[in-house]
């Protein structure tokens, strides 16, 4: 009885958690000017209710299923991984929306509506148990992210940034369609946990499809560049989409389908190496950036690389912990960047000197975030990424070394932020207000969420440390994971501190670190995000556009003209037939008629009316008949 009640409320809570933000979000989007005033409070209230529901479903663990298409129900369920992810996303959304009440001044209804729609999509993604449900959440997430990145639609550049993000991730999403086909053809069914049972080559199709889709969403190599363009969006959008949700969902999906990657044999090592290389290369990209949001974006790709690496080496516990800790840390840093952008009108690092001193609450919070990002002990990312790397070491020393190098790069780019924001504002090398008119104020409502997130960034490392890590592993259904020995944990902590010190030294030694003489080729390569977007344009976009224009011309000039030509030919045949008709058939008939008429004229001449002429004629005919008779006989 109690179980039944529990079940009902659990399923209801799960459905509500999806439908409530979706419905309120849709209403806000369509509400027009009437919804403008109440949009922010309504959205915050909705998300707060969502937070309660998220806790409900995390405790009650409901599973729901509704018939969707034949053989593939729309299934949602909450297990430990889902519970953690859903709570995380709803929590960060709530904080970001609170921040946004002070940051978003115009078109609030559309902004908050889209954020709520996005939230609903993420909840579906994070609790989907079947491919159709996953695809629904997955792609709606992409569409709303397009609308959010291009939120300031008057600026076509920003809308184009959204389009780049959407199209790149959708290109990767095609993998999920292929995986769905493989699920049917391989007779495994469309449940995510059944995919490893796909038969024969279809297993590899399914694994490849899911892997590609997840790598696209998680902004891993070679798809990373879309995240750079996504920075055209408002900062609160980046804080949610590019920390806890969207990109994180790519990592989440790989953690979820770990058994599938394992079963294929090749997909797990592929994921591990792509994750490790992304962590390394995008770490270098981050270090080369001179725009704070670009730096943070590249860092997001790099940090998600650790999650992808975790999925590849079956470090589910460490990967989950890193996903959560990174979400808090990066949301914090993006919000801080947004607060500074709103106040100072710029996000260029050379202009941000001394901002931490100017707004100490934001500054200290951001410092906690940056130190965590650097991997300084005992803050969160130090422990979580080591939890991943320790397992990687069991697989391959090379993976571990690449991961460790990526850690050093993380300390370097985090150090770069720290040095800039704490040095004297007199050292600023660029003017303020280069992107928008700054307000010179950071609202109190913007500061509160930063403090909460900073607390998270500081302490969430416990998820990867004993004794909590054993509880987490147990809840995830995993064996107790290896925790790094003093050498690994201590070593990486020391490494972080050493790199931070080096950065401090390097940036003091060179007074103008942002304008080194001529940038070397490697630096230029890193600054331009490895040239990935340019390469995509050269290899995919431009050929596709050229092909489309060529085909459009072909359609008009060849295909359509062929049809018109056939019609013209028919017309010409018709004209020819008409000529033959008039000049041939009809003329022959006319000639025949003329002949008959002439003949008639001759015959008429015989009709004289004189009787003796007729007698004479009769005699002539009679004579002719006699002659004929004689001759024939």
């Amino acid at each position: 009885m109690i179980d039944a009640v529990r079940d009902v409320t659990g399923t209801t809570a799960l459905w509500l958690l999806v439908t409530l933000p979706a419905a309120v979000g849709a209403l806000l989007c369509l509400g027009g000017r009437g919804a403008e005033r109440g949009a922010a409070p309504v959205a915050v209230a909705t998300t707060a209710i969502g937070a309660v529901l998220a806790v409900d479903v995390a405790i009650l663990r409901p599973a729901v299923s509704a018939p969707f298409v034949a053989g593939a129900p729309f299934g949602l369920a909450v297990d430990t991984l889902s519970a953690i992810t859903v709570c995380l996303v709803v929590g960060v959304t709530l904080l970001v929306l609170v921040f946004s009440t002070g940051a978003i001044a115009s078109e609030r209804a559309r902004f908050h509506g889209l954020m709520l729609l996005f939230l609903a999509a993420v909840v579906v993604t994070a609790s989907a148990t079947t491919l159709p449900a996953l695809l629904l959440g997955w792609e709606v997430m992409g569409a709303t992210s397009y609308a959010l990145i291009g939120f300031s639609w008057r600026d076509r550049q920003r809308v184009a940034g959204g389009a780049t993000a959407f199209l790149t991730t959708r290109a990767a999403d095609l993998g999920l369609y292929a995986a769905a086909a493989a699920a049917v053809a391989g007779a495994s069914g469309m449940a995510l946990d059944r995919l490893p049972a796909a038969s024969g080559a279809w297993l590899h199709v399914a694994a490849a499809g899911v892997l590609v889709a997840a790598l696209g969403k998680a902004a891993q190599l070679p798809f990373s560049f879309w995240l750079s363009r996504a920075m055209e969006g408002p900062s609160p959008v980046s804080a949610l989409l590019h920390s806890a949700a969207m990109v994180a969902m790519g990592g989440y999906l790989l953690l979820r389908v770990g058994p599938l990657l394992e079963a294929s044999g090749w997909a797990a090592p592929a994921a591990a190496w792509i994750g490790a290389l992304t962590a390394l290369l995008l770490g270098a990209v981050a270090l080369a950036q001179r725009d704070l949001k670009q730096l943070l974006a590249a860092s997001t790709s790099a940090q998600l690389g650790f999650v992808v690496l975790a999925a590849g080496v079956s470090a589910l516990t460490g990967g989950t912990a890193h996903l959560v800790a990174h979400a808090a840390t990066k949301a914090l840093l993006f919000l801080a960047a947004g607060a500074w952008l709103g106040a100072l009108g710029t996000k260029a690092l050379p202009a941000l000197s001394g901002v931490a001193r100017r707004w100490p609450v934001v500054g200290v919070a951001a410092t906690v975030g940056a130190l965590a990002l650097a991997g300084v002990a005992p803050l969160s990312l130090w422990a979580t990424k080591d939890a991943v790397l320790v397992v990687a070491l069991e697989h391959s020393a090379a993976l571990y070394v690449v991961g460790l190098a990526a850690t050093a790069l993380a300390a370097a780019y985090a150090g770069k932020i720290l040095v800039v924001v704490w040095r004297s504002s007199a050292e600023a090398e660029e003017p303020l207000d280069t992107e928008e008119a700054g307000t010179r104020r950071v609202h109190r409502v913007q500061q509160a969420p930063l403090v909460v997130l900073a607390a998270g960034a500081a302490v969430l490392g416990v998820l990867a440390l004993p004794p909590v890590v054993e509880l987490l592993a147990h809840a995830l259904g995993q064996p107790p994971p290896p925790t790094g020995g003093p050498w690994e944990l201590g070593g990486s902590a020391v490494l972080a501190l050493v790199v931070l010190g080096l950065v401090r030294w390097a940036m003091r030694a060179r007074p103008a670190p942002f304008h080194p003489a001529p940038p070397r080729a490697a630096t230029r390569w890193a600054t331009s995000w490895l040239g990935l977007e340019a390469a995509t344009h050269a290899v995919v976009v431009r050929p596709a556009l050229a092909l489309s224009q060529w085909l459009a011309r072909l359609d008009d000039r060849v295909l359509d003209r062929a049809v018109t030509g056939v019609a013209r030919g028919a017309l010409a045949v018709g004209r020819g037939a008409a000529r033959v008709d008039v000049g041939g058939v009809d003329a022959a008939v006319e000639r025949l008629a003329g002949g008959v008429r002439r003949l008639g004229g001759y015959v008429r001449r015989l009709q004289t009316g004189e009787l003796h002429h007729y007698y004479l004629g009769a005699v002539a005919v009679l004579a002719a008949c006699v002659v004929l008779l004689v001759l024939v006989r």
């Binding site: 709606v140 008057r154 600026d155 809308v159 053809a185 489309s548 085909l551 459009a552 049809v563 019609a567």
Partner: protein, 496 residues
């Protein structure tokens, strides 16, 4: 009951055509009222619909008509036709509402569209080949007058091209029908009888020839590459309501013919030539998408996306014939997707064409480069167009996804090479985002100032179409519960 649904609009058309002194306003509202009543009647039919046994029809009526050739007035609905009948009623009502602002000869237009509605409904309920052919040709005639009488640009030429091309197609169709009649024993034009005992099963050459005739006729109407070139000029020069009906309903006559006539009546030939149909489907998907991407005229672009979207239908029905490739359940998914795609395309592209009509109404052009920043003066227009664009590019949550997902899953499982068509949904996404970006965002162009936002009748004609696309996208079961048994029946008929 079905006869009332079919001929009520015709009766109203006759009355409207005869009532010379009728005020324009009365004529416009009379059209809306008749379309609404007809939709309500279709609702009654849907509510009373019980899935008939395979091969049979619900709500069927049969009256002898031309007994000399075994042709009767035979109508009925099943899971293939009922959704299309409902779609027809919905699209025509939306057009009636949209046309409440029509200034040019509204009485004649109302009469013509009501006549056209009868031909469309009649075609979808027809269970006799002669009846089918009659409605097929009458719809061409009516659409010729719609384009020629209310079009713009070079309507006479476009209308003539449309008429001649599709009429030629219908002749091929007629030749195929006669082939079926001659081969059937006893000779009959009755579709139920022909499907129950398909002729020409043991005659690969004869069956192939008859199928070729039928396919060419239907491919022109659908249209598939390379028979599609009548479509862009017809759409570009047709009035908005004409385009909506042409894309939303008339194109479905071609694809409906595949599932209603070609597949059940020529199963052996269909299986033999299924790979050709799949290839044509893949080519149509990719070619339509890329050519659409190459357009600068928004209405032409949407016209070409129809080639792309109909390509998914062709792909799905083609896969149904690849018996060796997959089991019946998989092929059935493809067919279900194809039929769902017909409904999805009707709702979504119908809405898109009504929306695009607004551009010409306000600014006199469809050229994308002439517009910019329209989201500022016309936020409602921008919102609805964005929703329609995302629905059309197959975003989950709209019915187009339900359709394309099933088509892809069923088709790729049956013939893995069909995965080549997957980039079609990416190209479609690119072209719609580019259009949105060019028309609605960025700096204002000369046309932007004073661009009037959607009026109430425009919202009320478009929004319900998109609402239905959303409803069936989120809750597809009411639709799929009707389609799936019929798709199963067709799949097993093809497998005979």
């Amino acid at each position: 009951m079905l006869s009332i649904v079919v001929f009520l609009p015709l009766a109203a058309a006759v009355v409207l055509a005869a009532a010379r002194g009728l005020p324009d306003a009365v004529a416009r509202w009379a059209w809306v009222a008749v379309a609404a009543v007809d939709l309500a009647l279709v609702g009654v039919v849907w509510a009373g619909y019980r899935t008939p046994p395979p091969g049979a029809l619900a709500w069927s009526e049969q009256v002898p008509w031309i007994p000399g050739v075994n042709s009767s007035y035979h109508v009925g609905v099943d899971g293939l036709s009922l959704p299309l009948v409902a779609l027809t009623a919905v699209v025509f009502l939306a057009c009636a509402v949209y046309a409440l602002r029509e200034e040019r000869r509204p009485r004649a237009q109302a009469a013509l569209f009501l006549f056209l509605q009868t031909t469309c409904l009649g075609l979808f309920v027809a269970a006799d080949l002669i009846l089918f052919f009659l409605f097929f040709d009458l719809s061409i005639v009516a659409m010729y007058f719609v384009i020629g009488g209310w079009g713009h640009g070079d309507p006479a030429r476009s209308a003539l091209k449309f008429f001649l091309y599709t009429f030629l197609g219908s002749l091929a169709l007629l030749a195929g029908f006669i082939g079926l009649y001659v081969a059937a024993s006893p000779h009959t034009f009755d579709m139920v009888a022909l499907a129950a005992a398909p002729p020409l099963t043991g005659a690969p050459v004869g069956g192939g020839l008859v199928l070729a005739a039928v396919l060419v006729g239907l491919a022109v109407k659908t249209p598939t590459v390379p028979f599609h070139t009548w479509l862009p000029p017809a759409h570009t020069d047709a009035p908005a309501v004409g385009s909506a009906v042409l894309a939303g309903v008339l194109l479905k006559m071609g694809t409906y013919g595949f599932v209603r006539i070609a597949m059940p009546m020529l199963p052996a030939a269909w299986r033999a030539w299924a790979w050709v149909i799949v290839v044509v489907g893949v080519v149509s998907v990719l070619y339509g998408a890329f050519v659409a991407l190459g357009q600068t005229d928004l209405k032409r672009m949407i016209a070409y996306t129809s080639v792309n979207h109909m390509g998914y239908v062709v792909l799905g029905v083609g896969a149904a014939g690849l018996v060796a490739g997959a089991d019946a359940a998989t092929r059935q998914v493809a067919v279900t997707g194809a039929v769902t795609q017909m409904v999805a395309h009707g709702l979504i592209t119908g809405a898109l064409f009504l929306l695009v009509g607004v551009l010409r109404d306000r600014a006199g052009t469809y050229d994308m480069a002439s517009f910019g920043g329209l989201a500022r003066p016309a936020p409602r227009f921008a919102t609805l167009f964005a929703v329609a664009a995302f629905a059309s590019l197959g975003l989950p949550g709209f019915v187009g996804f339900v359709a394309e997902f099933q088509v892809f899953v069923g088709t790729i499982a049956a013939v893995p090479a069909a995965a080549l068509a997957l980039p079609g949904i990416l190209v479609t996404a690119a072209l719609f985002l580019r259009a949105l970006q060019s028309v609605f965002t960025g700096p204002a162009e000369a046309t932007t100032e004073g661009f009037g936002d959607l009026r109430r009748v425009e919202v009320w004609s478009v929004a319900p179409l998109l609402g239905l696309a959303l409803l069936f996208g989120v809750l597809p079961r009411p639709l799929l519960d009707v389609i799936e048994p019929a798709a199963q029946a067709v799949t097993s008929m093809v497998g005979r």
